[in-house]
Each structure stands twice: as structure tokens, then as C-alpha cells.
Amino acid sequence: MIALILRDLRLAIRSGGGFGLGLAFFLLVVVLVPLGVGPEPATLAKIAPGILWVGALLSCLLSLDRIFALDFEDGSLDLLATAPMPLEGVVAAKTLAHWLVTGLPLTLAAPVLAVLLNLPGQGYSWLVASLALGTPALSMIGVFGASLTVGLKRGGLLLSLLVLPLYVPTLIFGAEAVRRGAMGMEAGTPLLLMAGITAGSVALLPFASAAAIRVNLR
């Protein structure tokens, strides 16, 4: 399993797209919003939690269609399916690799970019906490969508349509936790609900994804 994670990380770094793409997109969104909305600090502070979360979600979405499509095209997925490692393990390893390439850098970059949006000081710890707890769910749900659409030519659009509704609860609770935290209110409840979604999807979706891949390989 470690071998698969290391291979995916190596591929992401070598092909250049993986690490840079999501992060660059996040940066663009966060930089462009103040230009579009205007420079009033109060307005920016108000929309900052939502913008940061939407930006993180869209950057995550950007790299989803590559997760299994490349392995399907070059035959690796067939070979992984006949390897000793269970397909559920393959899914879990690829999810972790995807999170390390997108979710983790986003979480680390978010506090720096939040300065541009004038996020109030007490919101920073909630921002990092909510992204750290929420982005694994984004990766896991995304991997599930990718395994449903593996083998489809140009499955990217279908993938986005499948995955976006499933992302909504995470987005709502994540942005709400940051908003409450930034306003100095109690933010534990939305954070815990979001952590619950993450725990549930990480526990169940590897099995669903593996089943979907088995069907799609036929």
C-alpha cells in the first residue's frame, strides 16, 4: 500500500500537474475575488470563510478525473485488480495520495491566503481545523465519483455533476464553522458534524468505490 502511495506522489510531482494545479487554482480564486468584490475590509471579512471553502472545494474537484483515468488507460488498474492487494486497499491508498497532493497543501496555504481576504484573527485556527478535517472527505467522495466514471471517455462533466451534490454538506458545515469562529461564536457543532461526514465517508466509500471499479472493469 505504501508502494502505491509513493508511486502516486512521485507521479504527481513528476508530471507537474498534481501538486501545482490545485494550489495555483486556489490562489487565483482567492486573489481574484477581492478584485471583483471591491476592497472594503468589512465585506471581505464577511465573505472570506465562504470564498476560502469554495476555492478549496473547486481546486479539489479539478484533479479528480485523473485519479483512475490514467491507471485505466495504461492498464495498471487491471493489473492492480489482479494484484494481492484488495481493491479497497487500492482505493484507500489512492485517496490518501490524492489528499496529500491536494487537501494537505490547501490546508497549509489557506491561512496565508486568508490574509488577502481580511479574515478576522480568531478565525484562523478554525479555518485550518475545518480544512484539515473536511478535505479528506472531499478526496474520498471525489475518489468514489472517479471510480463510478472510470472507463468513460470524457467522464469529467459527469464526475463533477455526481460529486458536487455530495460535497454540499461538507461545504456548508466547513464554511459555517469558520464563519462562527471568525465572529467569535461557538463553532464546535458544525466542525463536529463535518468530522462525522468525513469519518463516515472514509469508513464506507472505499468499499463502494471498489465495487464500482469492479463493475467498470468488465
Binding site: L4, R7, R10, E73, D74, G75, D78, P84, L217
Partner: protein, 207 residues
């Protein structure tokens, strides 16, 4: 390995019906038949990548190594890195031996995207060696190989059989295995559905 009365389908159409054979350690079985007869479909069914419509494939678990049309080679990894990955997945070593066996020693640090088609195929076949699995399922293993490489692979295959391995091979050319049995799939061809008998979703929707 035993295959009993297996029927398999491709794209919803049954292509082969009632295929039976056994494969003992040290044996090779060559599948023959015209294009489209269902050699690849049969191999994928035996590999467990798709279910058989009828019949049974019985074999000890975790003994198969499948090599399809695609080599499973990652373009941005080097030759040695590609092999080391598959060796690690199967919990095996022996990368250097496999490189040597398929005459890839000179290319070990070359990125796989810079390999020729034949060199890529040799890398894909070297992967079989590092899986350490006894039963090889080979789908047209000699595509884009030159005659020297075919002979090289024939020697590797003979070595594998001599060590008690087995191989099921779909191929059109002679691999230099005089002892291999040949199974012609033509008699197992499923009867084509008669005109008007096949119903697809579109026809049903129109009705």
C-alpha cells in the same frame, strides 16, 4: 487450474460457450482462433476481471499474473522504478534479475516515455517475472517484439515452465514451445443471436 464449461460475453453478446480445459504445473496452453473469437475475453474471465456467464474457473487463490494489451507502464517513471513498484505490490524482489532476463539492463534508468514500443513490451513482460506468481495469462505477448526478443521471451517462458509454473497464452505466432498444447477456440464460438432476437434498450424504448 481448471476451467469447466465457461461461457463469457463481451459487450453483452456471448462470444464463447462451454470452454473447458485444465492446466497443470509445467504446462503451457496456447489459445488460437480468428480475431474476435474471444481470446482476450476468455483470459479476462479466467483472471477474474469479469464474471463468467456460466461454468466455473477453479484455481488456487493469488496465483495469477495477467498481462493484457496494455503494459501498465507509467511514462514518467524509469524502467527500474516501474518494475520496483510492481515487485513491491506483490511483496517480491528480484528487479535486477528481471531486468537482466528481458535484456533491459542498459535501459534501467531511462524514463519509460522514451522507450520504443518493443522495449515497453519487454518491460511489461519483465513485470510478470517480479510478480512471483505461478500462472501467467498472456494476451498477445509478442506484439511489437523483434525476433530476438521473441526468442528471449520464449526462453524466459520455458524457464518459468521448468520451475513448475504454467502459462495460458493467446497468440498467433510460434513462441518456440514445442511441448505447448494448442486449444482452438473456433468450435466453442457461441451461436450468433438471430436477427430480431437481440433487444437493446433503444429498441425497447421505441416500443
Amino acid at each position: 487450474m481448471q476451467v469447466q464449461g465457461v461461457s463469457c460475453a463481451r459487450g453483452g453478446v456471448t462470444v464463447l460457450d462451454g470452454v473447458s480445459f485444465t492446466l497443470e504445473p509445467g504446462q503451457a496452453l496456447v489459445l488460437r482462433g480468428p480475431n474476435g473469437i474471444g481470446k482476450t475475453t476468455l483470459l479476462r474471465t479466467v483472471a477474474g476481471l469479469q464474471p463468467a456467464i456460466a461454468g466455473k474457473v477453479s484455481l488456487p487463490p493469488e496465483t495469477l499474473a495477467y498481462a493484457g494489451h496494455a503494459d501498465g507502464v507509467k511514462a514518467t517513471l524509469s524502467v527500474a522504478e516501474n518494475l520496483a513498484f510492481w515487485a513491491a505490490i506483490h511483496g517480491q524482489g528480484g528487479v535486477d534479475g528481471a531486468l537482466l532476463a528481458m535484456n533491459l539492463g542498459q535501459l534501467r534508468d531511462r524514463a519509460a516515455k522514451n522507450l520504443s514500443a518493443g522495449q515497453r513490451r519487454r518491460l511489461g513482460l519483465a513485470r510478470l517475472i517480479v510478480t512471483g506468481r505461478p500462472i501467467w495469462l498472456l494476451d498477445e505477448p509478442t506484439v511489437s517484439l523483434d525476433s530476438d526478443s521473441v526468442a528471449l521471451f520464449g526462453a524466459v517462458l520455458r524457464g518459468h515452465l521448468a520451475e513448475g509454473g504454467a502459462a495460458l497464452i493467446a497468440t498467433h505466432i510460434d513462441l518456440g514451445l514445442p511441448e505447448a498444447r494448442v486449444l482452438d477456440l473456433t468450435p466453442y464460438k457461441a451461436r450468433a443471436p438471430q436477427a430480431g432476437q437481440s433487444r437493446d434498450a433503444f429498441a425497447e424504448a421505441v416500443e
